[in-house]
């Protein structure tokens, strides 16, 4: 009995290459020549070929569907098992049609190694290069090249060398050194299982020798611990945190930190059912653990060993492949699934699109289907992550739009906001809100005479910032008086109280991460100074300046004429003083500037004061 063959784990090999370069034939050959085909299969293929008036068609061994046999193409990806004396294999057949890229990705992402099939007469065409590039992107590092249809060129060594050199150079630019480059005729079985004596110039391995030389992928047990939480179960009085260890090890007694909340707890037990109790577990194992205290842990959290770092970011740069029919442009919001977490992410920038042919990058406004691009994503929630070149399993994710997976990405870089964030009085720190919103919270206090244009400016700015994705809200003096300021009149004391209430409210908005635009006449300098004290560093005074004469000429609400007629007592500018700010952060003269110019100034100031650029990494460290 062949225990040797059955107890060794299978190796997964993806076969890629341009359509019609002979992948299916190669697989049919491999299966047949290693004795892996079931009885009757060859007779079946003979019959299928005969019915279609074809000579024996090897690819029918693989092609399961009537349409595949009738049209001579492979639909979707498929998997088939064979074994050599060395070990069992799973062959993943990935179709070469460019439009079937998602199936190729589906097939190739799980492979330990790849065979890249190239027709010697055609060389490495665009699809071959694309497949090689995707193998690299998907993390498949072991590649052997099969130069097929050598019988068609009479096993000419010169022709072989040309193609071998071309593809080897391309792979080496990707950082892949092919483990072998093999001249074969899949149709006739040359150099598949056995050597062909007449071809004496090739001394390298056969295809079977090359696959037997591949190394199985090893679980990253010696890397830092990453244990993404998949679910929390309460089967009885136990509370079991379930998930799979993606890298590293954990032991009973270890103190774990659950990012991004960074709560800590000790592992009390590793739970199992119908299994011996375990005191340790390692990468690749699906486990359940219990903790020494009841901390809030949910799906999406990632446990690491306490005292070891893990990235937490709102802004990440990824290399992305786009599988969906439409294009991907800046501003598009998608769901990023990374480990067990889901995040809403917005495309902030498209840095470049990669030209698969020559590996150059070029700026682009959008990513089209089947393209690879470097893209900056901004997340609304903290993403626990690693760089893909450091820890691949927690450094990659898929992008989901609606119901569908529309792309995949690997993390190239990120702005780490994680380690030093400790909110005071809130579970969410201001810097975290700023990172999510893309701007800090703050108060723009617009003061000026009635008719100076405060409301127009406030509403214009609110609309403009909102369109940029900002969290922004206008507190208008007139509106406030109906609710928050109800019962207050226009006496100096009542005005002061009204302004205090508005300032306190504005402060709450600012603390909540919003930009609040307070639009009030607020004529008394002392009242505004008090608002500044309430608002603190977030308070920015903007003087909307316009001469009284201009304001009175505008008189949009007819208040000046009523005041002049004595119908409104203590009307600012007419029968009560307006105290101009001595040192406002900004002064906008609506008497000399057009509405558009005034709004531009205010916008530029707001972006400078609260925008992205204003939130530096140093701010997070506090």
């Amino acid at each position: 009995m062949d225990t040797h063959n059955t107890s060794k784990g299978q190796l997964r090999i993806v076969i890629v290459g341009h359509v019609d370069h002979g992948k299916s034939t190669l697989i049919g050959r491999l299966l047949h020549d290693t004795g892996s085909l079931p009885d009757g299969k060859v007779a079946q293929v003979h019959e299928m070929s005969r019915k279609r008036g074809m000579p024996f068609e090897w690819s029918f061994v693989m092609d399961a569907l009537q349409a595949e046999r009738d049209q001579g193409i492979t639909i979707d990806t498929t998997q088939i098992h064979f074994k050599t004396a060395q070990r069992p294999y799973v062959i993943i057949d990935a179709p070469g049609h460019a439009e079937f890229l998602r199936n190729m990705v589906t097939g190739a992402a799980g492979a330990d190694a790849a065979l890249l099939v190239i027709d010697v007469r055609e060389g490495a065409l665009e699809q071959s290069r694309r497949h090689a590039y995707l193998l690299h992107l998907l993390g498949v590092r072991q590649v052997a090249v099969v130069v097929n249809k050598m019988d068609q060129v009479g096993f000419n060594a010169f022709r072989f060398d040309g193609v071998a050199g071309q593809i080897t150079r391309y792979l080496e630019e990707l950082g892949i050194r092919p483990t072998a480059v093999i001249p074969v005729s899949a149709r006739h079985g040359d150099f598949i299982v056995s050597r062909t004596e007449e071809v004496d110039w090739y001394k390298g391995p056969t295809v079977v020798e090359a696959v037997d030389a591949f190394e199985p992928a090893r679980a990253p047990v010696d890397q830092p611990l990453r244990f993404p939480v998949q679910d929390v179960y309460k089967p009885d009085d136990r509370r079991i945190i379930a998930g799979r260890i993606e890298s590293g090890r954990l032991r009973v007694g270890d103190t774990l930190r659950f990012a991004p909340d960074n709560t800590t707890a000790r592992v009390v037990s590793i739970e199992g059912w119908s299994a011996a109790p375990a005191i340790a577990a390692a990468a690749g194992q699906s486990i359940g653990i219990t903790l020494d205290k009841r901390v809030f842990v949910e799906r999406g959290h990632v446990a690491v060993l306490d005292g070891t770092p893990v990235g937490t970011a709102y802004r990440l740069t990824v290399r992305l492949f786009w599988l969906a029919p439409g294009t991907l442009a800046v501003g598009r919001t998608l769901t990023l699934k990374l480990a067990t977490a889901e995040h809403r992410v917005t495309v902030e920038a498209i840095e470049s699109v990669v030209d698969i042919e020559d590996l150059s990058t070029a700026p682009a406004k959008a990513v089209r289907r089947n393209e690879v691009a470097e893209v900056v994503l901004r997340s609304r929630s903290p993403v626990v992550l690693d760089r893909a070149d450091v820890l691949p399993r927690t450094g990659r994710g898929v992008l989901v739009d609606g119901h569908d997976v529309v792309g995949g990405c690997i993390v190239l870089d990120y702005e780490d906001t994680g380690a030093n964030l400790h909110a005071v009085g809130h579970a969410v720190a201001p810097a975290e809100r700023a990172a999510v919103n893309g701007h800090a919270g703050g108060i723009l206090w617009l003061t000026g005479l009635s008719g100076s244009g405060k409301s127009t400016l406030a509403l214009g700015l609110e609309r403009t910032l909102f369109k940029r994705g900002w969290q922004v809200f206008v507190l208008d003096g007139d509106g406030i008086r109906k609710g928050l300021g109800a019962g207050l009149g226009f006496s100096p004391d009542d005005r002061a109280e009204n302004i205090r209430r508005v300032a306190e409210t504005a402060k709450l908005f600012a603390d909540a991460g919003m930009v609040v635009i307070a639009s009030l006449v607020s004529p008394a300098r002392t009242d505004r100074e008090r608002a500044r004290i309430i608002g603190g560093a977030a308070f920015h005074e903007v003087h909307v300046a316009a001469d009284l004469a201009i304001c009175e000429a505008r008189d949009p609400k007819g208040l000046y004429s009523k005041a002049r007629a004595g119908e409104i007592p203590a009307f600012t500018g007419v029968s009560a003083p307006y105290e101009e700010p001595e040192a406002p952060e900004l002064s906008v003269d609506t008497g000399t500037l057009s509405q558009v110019e005034a709004l531009d100034r205010l916008l530029a100031y707001a972006v400078g004061a609260f925008g992205n650029g204003a939130v530096s990494r140093e701010d997070f460290a506090i």
């Binding site: 107890s7 060794k8 979707d76 998907l138």
Partner: protein, 264 residues
């Protein structure tokens, strides 16, 4: 980790993903060797219990040993067993070959189950190495309401991220054993001492290698009387697993047609 540990861990991961992401689930239990392993893996994943209904699509054509085993295991493992009676053969697509038509009863039974039970996901214990169209399956395989499978338009599935969002009126087949092989099933059953219907073991030079209804499934020649014998037999055999399944070979595309219409 041994290769069996890896297979087990991957299946447990899939089961837990489905349980977390899909609202209303059921597990199809054919009472054969594969779905027995699937049930066992559920108990591993969920610490002893199977937290969703276990459904047998019944045509009243199973062998008596199968029913006896079903009732014993359902009791001992405290399963929430539901038996769904499949519609009669006369109600099937008359253009199907006769034996395929008999098999299609289960497709209809499943359709009724989904409609009446409102299930959004069903676990099915199929494997890629069993049959060529199953080799093209996704782990999370979306279906239309009537169960149809569109092999030409399957979702991208990579890096253990599965399609878990669906349009109203569709459902998903979840295949936690897709990456297992026949010999894996037996080696794992042996290691875990999973109970098995005795029809798999040879008697009088014959055994069932794939267990189905008595009218469309036949035993194959074998002297494998124990699990060890079976493992040894599989290491050298070149007889396909479903050789005893009459409907597979009735015409070139009979099984493909069954599966496109929603067969497991």
């Amino acid at each position: 980790m041994t290769d069996l540990d890896q297979l087990e861990s991957q299946s447990v991961y899939i089961l837990r993903e489905a349980y977390n992401r899909i609202d209303k689930l059921a597990l199809l239990w054919s009472i054969g060797k594969d779905s027995n392993v699937l049930l066992w893996l559920c108990r591993k994943a969920f610490f002893g219990r199977v937290p969703f209904p276990v459904v047998q699509l019944d045509t009243a054509m199973e062998l008596p040993e199968v029913y006896a085993f079903r009732d014993r295991i359902a009791r001992e493992w405290e399963l929430d067993l539901k038996v769904e009676q499949c519609p009669p053969e006369e109600a099937m697509d008359p253009t199907l070959p006769p034996l395929t038509r008999a098999a299609a009863r289960k497709t209809e039974g499943l359709r009724n189950l989904l409609r009446d039970g409102g299930y959004q996901g069903v676990f099915v214990g199929i494997r890629r190495d069993e049959q060529a169209t199953r080799a093209k399956e996704r782990i999370f395989s979306p279906r239309t309401l009537d169960g149809a499978w569109d092999v030409k338009d399957q979702p991208a599935e990579f890096w253990d991220h599965y399609k878990t969002r669906f349009a109203e009126g569709t459902h998903v087949r979840i295949h936690p054993l897709l990456h297992w092989t026949e010999i894996d099933i037996w080696r794992y059953s042996k290691r875990e001492e999973i109970p098995i219907v005795p029809l798999y073991f040879a008697r009088d030079g014959q055994r069932y290698r794939s267990l189905g209804e008595k009218n469309i499934t036949f035993p194959v020649a074998s002297h494998a009387a124990t699990i060890d014998d079976i493992i040894a037999e599989l290491a050298v055999t070149r007889v396909p697993e479903r050789a005893g399944r009459a409907m597979d070979n009735e015409s070139e595309d009979s099984f493909e047609r069954l599966r496109s219409a929603g067969y497991m």
